[in-house]
Amino acid sequence: MEDTAIIDLYWKRDERAIVETDHKYGKYCHTVAYNVLSDHEDSQECVNDTWLRAWNSMPPQRPSVLRAFLAKITRNLAFDRYRARGAAKRGNGVMEAVLEELAECADTSGSWNAEEAYAAKELKEAINRFAESLPDRERNLFIRRYFFAEDIADIAQRYQMTENNVTVNLSRTRKKLRKYLSEGGFIG
């Protein structure tokens, strides 16, 4: 079924919307959640939560790209679930590596406070602008790694690059991000 037809079902409050969404994007969303959680059971629960969130979001929202819309919900729900886990339960998967890498761009000594909604919004917008400023290839790698939390090997295979090449590319992007955030006053 076409995305527009599925969105129409949501807007008509037709429960077939969830069936169709699950049919079309179930596996995709499961993968997105699994990249963060590394657990099938948790990922499946996360996907179910996604359908509920989507049901509550449409209407009023009418996403232009349903796939990305659902990916975003799933990813954020998965990350919430990840954070809710105890440190011992987090394991040592891709997510840990991703956070370690991002730590290079973070700065705990700064005055930035994530609790402030305004600051969080500002940071999101800054990252959006930063991603937009990147060349296509770099942006793709950046999004695959830090939005989808994909494994380096998978990214390398997807873009027909060597793992080393991907790693080097991401490292350069992180340096750029750090500089960008520093200039924006997000980190000291």
């Binding site: 996403p63 232009s64 790209v65 796939r67 990305a68 819309f69 990916a71 975003k72 990813r75 954020n76 990350f79 954070r83 991703v98 956070l99 370690e100 890498e101 991002l102 730590a103 761009c105 973070a106 700065d107 705990t108 700064g110 930035w112 994530a114 969080a120 919004k121 940071l123 999101k124 917008e125 990252i127 959006n128 991603a131 937009e132 296509d136 942006r139 793709n140 999004i143 695959r144 830090y146 939005f147 997807r158 873009y159 027909q160 997000f186 980190i187």
Partner: protein, 275 residues
Amino acid sequence: MRAEDLFEAMGGLDEELIARSERKVRSNTKKKSKNRKARSTIYRFAVVTMTTAAAVFLFLMARDLIGTSKADSAGSTQAITRAFTEENGSGEDAILAQGAAEDAAADTLNDGEPMPEAEASPEAGNKTVMESDAGNKAAKEAQAEAAEEAVEAETETAGDSGKTAVDLLGSQKGDYVSLEYISAADEAAGGSRIVPEYTEEGEAILSKAFSGGKTTPVFLAKVGEPVYYVYLTKENGEVHKATFYENAYVGMSNIPGVVMEISKEEYEDIMELFH
């Protein structure tokens, strides 16, 4: 700001941006799939081509082995059958009977002077294309003259019925204009060919012998030694040489590599006719 805050903020990436990234990924996958398809097509084409080439190569090898490589490209078995059975002679008999035709041509052209082909000495490599054409033309003329001579010889031996030796072929006469024969022994000794007289009995024997039969590759047939040669000349000077072997086989120079088996009785009759 912690790394987790940063990761969380990444979750706010614009959907359009994510979608664009997704599209890139998908188009990349499509490209890969297209490339894979193209490679697969090329591979299949290469395999088919190689297999065909191998099959053709094997076929040619097999054809060489059974000695039919020089046969008319129109087809081996059909051509063989046609050559032995055709009514009107054959327009497809494109292969010149090398030995007999050239001998006749050489004789007619100039006694003692070598044929253009016979000049193939070390100097032949320096010949120009024009010389080669001239040689071919001379050879053709010689063939035509040889044919005329053969016809004259035929006419001289014509009986009251007006039939000549070539009519011994009966319905197999086609566009042959003369028939001569010579025993293998005589030919080796440099003897002359004989133009036989026409007789009805002779026609019955020879026309039957040339009317076709079971053909066998030469290397499979125990043909024995050649006993008689029959030279058949066409209007255009082309000469076909039929060889009668001691074990009742007949071979035609224009159909190399195969021989036709005839019955012992037929063979005996032919031997008696020539004798």
